[in-house]
Structure formats: structure tokens, C-alpha cells
Amino acid sequence: MAATPAVLTAAPPQGKRRILVATAVMALLLAVAPFAGIYPVFLMKALCFALFACAFNLLLGFGGLLSFGHAMFLGTAGYVCAYAAKSWGLPPELAIALGTVASGLLGVVVGMLAIRRQGIYFAMITLAIAQMLYFFYLQTPFTHGEDGIQAVPRGRLFGVLDLSNTLVMYYVVLAIFLAAFLFIYRVVHSPFGQVLKSIRENEPRAISLGYDADRYKLLAFVLSATLAGLAGATKAIVFQLASLTDVHWSMSGEVVLMVLLGGMGTIFGPVVGAFVIIALESYLAPFGQWVTIITGVIFVVCVLAFRRGIVGELSAWWKARSG
């Protein structure tokens, strides 16, 4: 088959003001959500995954690189953070920072290996390295194998905020999420983000224009890994648990699904995708294996008929209507 250019369905350009207004609305809705009768633990879980999905989208949607092993960053940060908070007794802000940095460093190493190949190979390599780390965490003593690191203390943030209060914890998670979300928005709309998109669209041309494509891809990979780590570390503090679930390949698949369903290459897509998938899993939990089947069906439907995802389709519809 002839070489097809590496173009994943690109996002339609969105107005800057509209995005900022939408972000403000989203922040407001999330801020009042616990008072609207939505279970805060569910919201925190969804926010952690939304951050994970946004981090992943930075790489897939804007860099065109499909990593099939992103769970390794979520899980590594979770383990490091949980261990630091529990065994070393570090305060939560330091534990989270340490976990995030650990994933960032892992991202440097994995990124340097993985960007040597492209497309399908990139996906297979990241998947294989993640599986290797899964076996490592399964066997190494500090993670406690199948049990995971349990009863991680939430502690007091900066020595002041008592995180064992669910509502306080929720607003801390929300703050972390919003900060990371705005950071990603900034990155995507910076000159760096533009070059990254140009590499996604046509790598040889970007190289011929003098851009060192590999360096841009590596930086995108490391950023994505670091932010995924932030999500994993926060999640470990919220649920007071770091376990093998977070490093398993099915977790890597799940984040791909969230981004695909929400709309890759859109700013809000991953957030919508994460909330939909987490809600689905919560409601379908009693039905056992049906979750896996339905997840699979959503994958197939998205790929065959719905490649722009929820947000992508909505904004295309909006543009067709107003344009």
C-alpha cells in the first residue's frame, strides 16, 4: 500500500475566546458539582482520568504519536508518590511532585527509545516497554505485588489543608486539573505546539524547514509523560492506593479510548471522553465483563463511524450551522 501521510483526523481550529469562555464554564460547573448531588469521589476519579487523557491527547492529538503504554507513567508516578507518602512520610505536595518527576524521567528514557520508530512500531514499542515495567512492578518488593501500596496517608497539603476531608481533597484535585489543563492549552497554542502539529501533518517537510523533529517529539513525549504522572500521583493520594491496575495494558487502552471517544486533537475532547467512560464504568460495574465488551464496541464504532469523537463532531456541526 502506498505511503499515506500521517494525518489523524485533525481538529477544526477553535476560536481562542470561545475556548476560554468554555473553560471558565467548565471550571464553574465542576466547582459546584459536589453540591449538585454528584458524588465527590466519582468526580475526583473522573478528574484524574481527564487529566491523564488530556496528557495523552497532547501526544496523540497534537503530536500524532500513538503510545500504547501510557499506563506506565500513570502507574509509576502512583507507586513513587504512594511510597514517598507512606514509607518516607513526605507531605502530599512533595509526594505528588516526586511521583510526577519520576514519570517525567521515565518519559525521557522511554521517549528516546520509542521515537526511533514511527507509527505502528511506536505503538508496539511503548506497549512492550510498559509490559516490561508491569512485570517489574509485579515482582519488585516495594510495590507489594497484587496487593499494591495500601492505606497511603492523604496528609495535610502545605501543612495547612487537611486532605482527609473529601471536599477539601476535591478542590485540590480540581485545582491541579485546571492548572494542568490551562498549561496544556498554552503548550498547544505556543510556537512549540504549532511546530508539533506541522510535524504530525508532514514530518519530512518540517525537517526540510529546519526543525529537529525528533527533539520536538521527545519534548512532547516527556511533557505528556510528566502530566500523566501528575494524574497518577494525584490519583494515588485521592484513593490512598497504588496498584497494578494502573500499570496494566488495559489502562493504556482505556486512555486511548477516552481520547478517541471525546475527540482527539480537541482541547475538551479528552475531558468529555474521560467523564463518559468513568460514568459508564461506574454504572456498569455490577455487570462484570460487559464493561469490557461495551468498551470494545465503543472502540469499533468510534473508529468506523465517529472518528472525530464527541467534541469533534459537535464543533463540526456547530461550524456547519453557523458557517
Partner: protein, 287 residues
Amino acid sequence: MQALFGQLLIGLINGAFYAMLSLGLAVIFGLLNIINFTHGALYMTGAFCAWALLTHLGIGYWWALLIAPIVVGAFGALVERTMLARLYKLDHLYGLLLTFGLALIIQGVFRNEFGSSGLPYQIPPELTGGINLGFMFLPKYRAWVIVASVVVCLTTWYVIERTKLGSYLRAATENPALVQAFGINVPRMVTLTYAVGVGLAALAGVMGAPIFQVNPLMGADLIIVVFAVVVIGGMGSIMGSILTGFGLGVVEGLTKYFYPEASNTVVFVIMVIVLMFKPAGLFGRER
């Protein structure tokens, strides 16, 4: 000594499965440019086919070797025609995502139906027992699996590299439009290639049924190792994937003997090393 030869044998057996599965992946990748994530799930389906044939219809192992690949191959042809064929014009990653979704569906359905504990499958009576070679005890069934998989691999290699049909296939891999212009029905060839590729996975599944327990997740972890095997070998040559498959199986077996803690990860470590020095894989070509 006994233990060393025992682990070598297990390594060779695993290598046989790596080789058969990576061969199917390579053939499919060559023509369709799709990494078939369902490969592991269809390997598992092949094993379940054998189990169901025996349990419900009383049809034994030897017929299962023929029937299971045909059933799975037909299913593969259906999937290719109805779903994969719509994706060829898009980025290859969509093929990966679609087949990943299909793998989840297949595994979920089987787990709903059969739970996640394994089902036993008897070794056919002709192959029970073993031969004492003096330095080790060789179970007949395991010897059969190694010999049979070598024959399957070499046959596939012969068909692709040495026959007319294979030459069409290789030509279509290089330039499908031109081959179609010569009056060869390329879409049909693509369907058949996919069917044969997944049929190979099902055949491996039947052969694996008596060794590993028949289990809905038997293919899920295996396929990730096979991906690493494919990255190490590179997809350039058929013989390359066969040799890499067997070779890595043996290396894994030796690791189990000398340093068991690393036996799960050794293939991935080798992949990392190969990537550092030969990014295209041992037998691959840069493209």
C-alpha cells in the same frame, strides 16, 4: 542438567508459538499495513474451538487442527470485508485501534461465557506419553508441536517466497495499484491474506490447547510478547520472523534456568537493546 534441558524444551515450545503468531502478524502487516491486535484473541478462539468441538460434538484434536483455522479464518474474512476494508485509506493507527476494540469484545464475550479459569483439554491419545532420551524425558506431544510448527512455518515461507501465488502477494505488497492493473483481484487477495493470517493464529491456538489451559485471556499477554518479537525481528522478511520467534523462545527458556526473575522481561530487554543499535530490527529494512 535435566532442568536445563527441560527449560530449553519449554523455550522451544514457546518459540514455536512466537514464530507462528509473529509470522501471521508479518504476513498481514505486509499486505494490509495493519497490526492485528486481535491476533491474540483469535489464537484463544482457536483453542476454544478445539475445546468446543471435543466437548460438544466429540470431534477430536486432528479434525480440530483443520476445522478451527477454517472457522476463525472465515470470521477473519468477514471482519476484513465489513470493517477493516473501510480503513485502508486512513492512517494505519485506526486499524490498530479497531482490532484492539475487537480483541476486547472477543475476550469479554468468552470471559462472560466461560469465566476466567482455564478449561482442560486432553492430549490426543496418539501423542500421550514420551520418550526417554537418556539425558532428558521428551513428552511426545511437545515434540510434535515443535516439529509441526517448523513445518507450518517453512510451508508458509515456501508459499510466499517460492510460488506464483506468493509472488503476486509480494508484488501487491510493493505496489497494489499496479498489480491490480495486471488483472489480479487485489481486494480478494487482501481478504484471503487476512483470513490465512488469523487462521495461522487459530492453528497455533489448537496446538496450544493441550499445553496451556484453554483460557479467555491466554492470548492477551502472549500477543504483547509477540509484538516485541516482531519489533526485534523487523517485519522485512518471513524467515526473519520465524528465526526470531524460535530464537527468543530459547533465550527465554535459558533465562528461566539461569536467572528466573528476569524470564518475564528478557524479551522486552532484548527489544530495547535491539532498538538502540538496530532500530529497524534484526532482519528489517528501514522504510
